[in-house]
C-alpha cells in the first residue's frame, strides 16, 4: 500500500525522536466557519495529526464533553456532506497534515459506503476511526476503505487481550489508537504505568505507531503518555477549551482561536519535554 499522509507524519515525528500530538475536534463545533479556522490553527500551533469528529445524535462511547460538542455541531446544521466540504476547504492550504475522520457508522452507512469513500478521498481524508465497527464487521467499511487507499485505524482497549490483539490489528493501518481506560471519552485519568505496559504489549504484535488517548487532560498528562507512546491523543480537553471560549468570548472567533492556539502550545511543550527528560 502506498504511504499515506499519516504514515509520513509518524515517520517524521519518529525521526525527530518525539511523540506526535493528535488533536480531536468536532466538525462544525461551534459552527462551520469557526471550525475551519480552528482546523487551520491546529497545525500552526503544533498539532501533528487531526482527528475530526463526525457529529452523531447517539455517541454511545463518548462522555459529556464530546456529546455536547456533537449536539452543538448538529444544532449549527452540520452534516456529513458539510464535514467533507470542510476538509476539502482545509486541504486548499494544507496538503501535509493528516486528517482522520472519527465517529459512528450510521451517517456513513446512510450516505452510502462507496459514495462516502469516493467523496472522502477527493476531500483529502487520510483515515477513519469508526467506534462501532469492530473487526467482526470489517466487511462493512474497513475492507472497502483499505482497498480505496484510506487508513483504517482501530481502537485497542484494556479488554483487548493478547488473544484478541491479532484480530484487532489484522486490518489496522496508519496507527493503533490505544484507549487507555475502559470507559468513555474524557473520563478518568489513566494509570500511566499500565499504559506503558500496554504499549509495550501491543508493540510485540505490530510495527504500527501507537497513539494513546482517553483521559489526556493537560500538558502534564500529555507528557506522561508521550514518554511511552508514539502519539498522544487529546480530545475532550480541547473540545472543552473550544466550548468555554465560545461561551465566554466577547471577541467571537478570534477568542476561540487564541485559546485553542495557547492550549495546543502547552500540549506541544509537554510532549517535547517528555523525551528530553527520558
Amino acid at each position: 500500500m502506498t504511504k499515506t499522509r499519516i504514515d509520513r507524519r509518524f515517520a517524521k515525528t519518529r525521526a525527530e525522536g518525539r511523540a506526535a500530538l493528535v488533536t480531536f475536534i468536532m466538525a462544525g463545533d461551534p459552527d462551520l466557519a469557526t471550525s475551519l479556522e480552528i482546523l487551520k490553527t491546529l497545525p500552526k500551533a503544533g498539532a501533528d495529526v487531526i482527528e475530526l469528529g463526525m457529529p452523531f445524535t447517539d455517541p454511545m462511547a463518548d462522555g459529556p464533553s464530546i456529546q455536547a460538542a456533537g449536539l452543538r455541531a448538529l444544532k449549527s446544521g452540520m452534516t456529513l456532506k458539510k464535514t467533507l466540504a470542510l476538509i476539502a476547504d482545509f486541504r486548499r492550504n494544507d496538503d501535509e497534515t493528516p486528517i482522520v475522520l472519527m465517529g459512528y457508522y450510521n451517517p456513513i452507512y446512510v450516505y452510502g459506503v462507496d459514495r462516502f469513500l469516493t467523496d472522502a478521498l477527493s476531500a483529502g481524508v487520510d483515515g477513519l476511526i469508526i467506534v462501532d465497527l469492530p473487526p467482526e464487521e470489517d466487511s462493512e467499511l474497513c475492507e472497502p476503505a483499505l482497498k480505496a487507499g484510506l487508513n483504517f485505524i482501530r481502537l485497542a482497549t484494556p479488554t483487548t487481550d493478547d488473544k484478541r490483539l491479532p484480530k484487532v490489528l489484522t486490518n489496522t493501518s496508519g496507527f493503533v489508537y490505544y484507549v487507555s481506560i475502559t470507559g468513555i471519552t474524557g473520563a478518568a485519568t489513566p494509570d500511566y504505568s499500565k499504559v506503558a505496559e500496554a504499549v509495550a504489549r501491543i508493540k510485540q504484535h505490530t510495527d504500527l505507531p501507537i497513539a494513546v488517548g482517553f483521559g489526556v487532560k493537560n500538558a502534564q498528562s500529555a507528557a506522561a503518555i508521550a514518554a511511552h507512546a508514539d502519539g498522544v491523543v487529546v480530545g475532550s480537553a480541547l473540545v472543552d477549551v473550544i466550548a468555554n471560549a465560545t461561551a465566554t468570548g466577547s471577541a467571537g472567533q478570534d477568542n476561540v482561536i487564541s485559546h485553542v492556539s495557547k492550549f495546543v502550545g502547552q500540549l506541544v511543550n509537554g510532549i517535547h519535554q517528555a523525551r528530553a527528560k527520558a
Binding site: 457529529p55 452523531f56 445524535t57 447517539d58 455517541p59 454511545m60 462511547a61 463518548d62 462522555g63 456529546q67 448538529l74 452534516t79 456529513l80 456532506k81 459512528y104 457508522y105 450510521n106 451517517p107 456513513i108 452507512y109 446512510v110 450516505y111 467506534v131 462501532d132 465497527l133 469492530p134 473487526p135 467482526e136 464487521e137 482501530r154 481502537l155 485497542a156 482497549t157 484494556p158 479488554t159 483487548t160 487481550d161 484478541r164 484487532v168 484507549v179 475502559t182 470507559g183 468513555i184 473520563a187
Partner: protein, 405 residues
C-alpha cells in the same frame, strides 16, 4: 421484488448474528470480548439441561406461569367478528412479560460471575423486573431511565427504589428510552469487568436479539398448547404491540413456520404517521441503519441522525426495532400495522369496561389493531392478542389525557 423465502423462518440468526442484512455486532472494541464471552456462555447454558430446569422452576413458582389464555367474550361479542383470546402475560409477577427475559439473563449473569447488573427502561416494566430479580439474587442493580419517563412512570420508579435499585434519570437527548440505552452502554463500557447489561428488548448486539427472543418464546409455546387444548387447533391470527419487539417476537416465533397463521405486529403511530417526529413506527416510517449494536429499521433524517420517537406509551417510543422484526417485515412473513395514541386510549377504555382488565398502554396499541381487524374476520377465526402488561403504571398518564376523569 420479494426476496427468496427461506425454508424456515425460525433458524436465524446466522453465526455473525445476522437476520438477512439485519442484526450484527456494532459495538465499541471495549465491549467486543465480553459480547463474545456472553455468546459462548449462552450457548453453553442453552445446552445445559440444568439451566432450562432452573428457568422452568422459576417460571412456575416465581413468575406464576403458564399465564392463562383467556377468551375475551364480551369484547368478541362487541366487535362481532373473530373469537378473541388474550394471552395474559400481564398476570406475571411484576406485571408484564419482561420478567421472562430478565430471569434468563440474570441466571446467565450468575453463571458468568457478574455481580453488578445494569438495565435501561422505558415504561419501567423492564426496570422493575430487573430490580426484582436482582433483589432475589442479592445483586447490585442500576437502572437507566430517561428523565421524561421517570416523570410519566412514577409508580414504577417507586417500585424499583423499594426493590433496592439505583435509578439514574438520563438528561441527554429527548430523555426517553433511546437515551437511557446510550447511557447504559456508556456505563457498560466503563464497568465492563464486573457488569452484566440486562437488555430489555430483542435488540442490541448479537447475541441479545436471539437470546431475548428465546427467553420470551415461552409466550408463544404456551399459547400453542393452550389453544390446542381450548379449541383443538392453532389460532388463525396473532397480534402484539412492538416497541423493540420482545413480547411480539416471543409470541410470534413459535408460529413463524405455521404459514396459515396470520401475524400482526403493531407499532406506535403516536400523533399519526404523517406527523414528522410524531410517532415511533420505525418500520412504517424508517429506513435501515445502525444503532445500539445492530442494523435495523430506524427513524432518522437524511444525514443518518436519529430522530426521537413519540408515543403516549413510554414502552414504545423507541426509534428502532429488533432486527428479527426488520427481517420478518422484509420477508413479508409478519404484517406490521400501527395505532395512534388516540386509538390506543380508546382501546384502553374499552378493555377496562368490557373485560375488567386494565391494560398497559403498550398492549392497548395491539388491542386497537384487534378492534380494527376482528370485525372483518369470521366468527370461527381465532385471534390471540398478547396482553403483555398491566396498566396500573399508566393510570396517571391516561387520567391526564382524559381530563382528570
Amino acid at each position: 421484488m420479494k426476496p427468496d423465502l427461506p425454508n424456515s423462518f425460525r433458524t436465524g440468526p446466522d453465526e455473525h448474528g445476522h437476520f438477512g442484512i439485519f442484526g450484527g455486532r456494532f459495538v465499541a472494541e471495549t465491549l467486543m470480548p465480553l459480547i463474545l464471552d456472553l455468546e459462548q456462555a449462552y450457548a453453553k447454558a442453552k445446552a445445559d439441561p440444568s439451566f432450562q430446569a432452573e428457568l422452568d422452576h422459576l417460571a412456575t413458582h416465581y413468575v406464576g406461569r403458564p399465564s392463562p389464555l383467556y377468551y375475551a367474550e364480551r369484547l368478541t361479542q362487541h366487535l362481532g367478528g373473530a373469537k378473541i383470546y388474550f394471552k395474559r402475560d400481564e398476570l406475571n409477577h411484576t406485571g408484564a412479560h419482561k420478567i421472562n427475559n430478565v430471569l434468563g439473563q440474570i441466571q446467565l449473569a450468575l453463571r458468568m460471575g457478574k455481580k453488578r447488573i445494569i438495565a435501561e427502561t422505558g415504561a419501567g416494566q423492564h426496570g422493575v423486573a430487573t430490580a426484582t430479580a436482582c433483589a432475589k439474587y442479592g445483586l447490585e442493580c442500576v437502572v437507566y431511565m430517561g428523565a421524561v419517563d421517570v416523570e410519566r412512570q412514577k409508580p414504577n420508579v417507586f417500585r424499583m427504589k423499594m426493590l433496592g435499585a439505583t435509578i439514574v434519570p438520563v438528561q441527554s437527548g429527548a430523555r426517553t428510552l433511546k437515551d437511557a440505552m446510550n447511557e447504559a452502554l456508556r456505563d457498560w463500557v466503563t464497568n465492563v469487568a464486573d457488569t452484566f447489561y440486562c437488555i430489555g428488548t430483542a435488540a442490541g448486539p448479537h447475541p441479545y436479539p436471539a437470546m431475548v427472543r428465546d427467553f420470551q418464546s415461552i409466550i408463544g409455546k404456551e399459547t400453542r398448547e393452550q389453544m390446542m387444548q381450548a379449541e383443538g387447533r392453532l389460532p388463525d391470527s396473532l397480534v402484539a404491540c412492538i416497541g423493540g419487539g420482545s413480547n411480539a417476537i416471543g409470541l410470534f416465533h413459535p408460529f413463524l413456520d405455521d404459514r396459515n397463521v396470520e401475524i400482526y405486529g403493531v407499532e406506535a403511530a403516536g400523533h399519526g404517521l404523517e406527523v414528522p417526529d410524531g410517532h415511533a413506527a420505525s418500520l412504517a416510517g424508517g429506513r435501515p441503519g445502525v444503532l445500539h449494536g445492530n442494523r435495523t429499521y430506524l427513524l432518522m433524517d437524511e444525514d443518518g441522525q436519529i430522530n426521537e420517537g413519540h408515543s403516549i406509551s413510554a414502552g414504545l417510543d423507541y426509534p428502532g426495532i429488533g432486527p428479527e422484526h426488520a427481517w420478518l417485515r422484509d420477508m413479508g412473513r409478519v404484517t406490521y400495522l400501527s395505532a395512534t395514541d388516540k386509538k390506543a386510549l380508546e382501546a384502553f377504555q374499552l378493555c377496562c369496561k368490557l373485560e375488567g382488565i386494565i391494560p398497559a398502554l403498550e398492549p392497548a396499541h395491539a388491542l386497537a389493531a384487534v378492534i380494527e381487524l376482528a370485525p372483518k374476520k369470521s366468527k370461527d377465526h381465532l385471534m390471540v392478542m398478547n396482553m403483555c402488561g398491566r396498566g396500573d403504571k399508566d393510570i396517571f398518564t391516561v387520567a391526564d389525557h382524559l381530563g382528570g376523569m
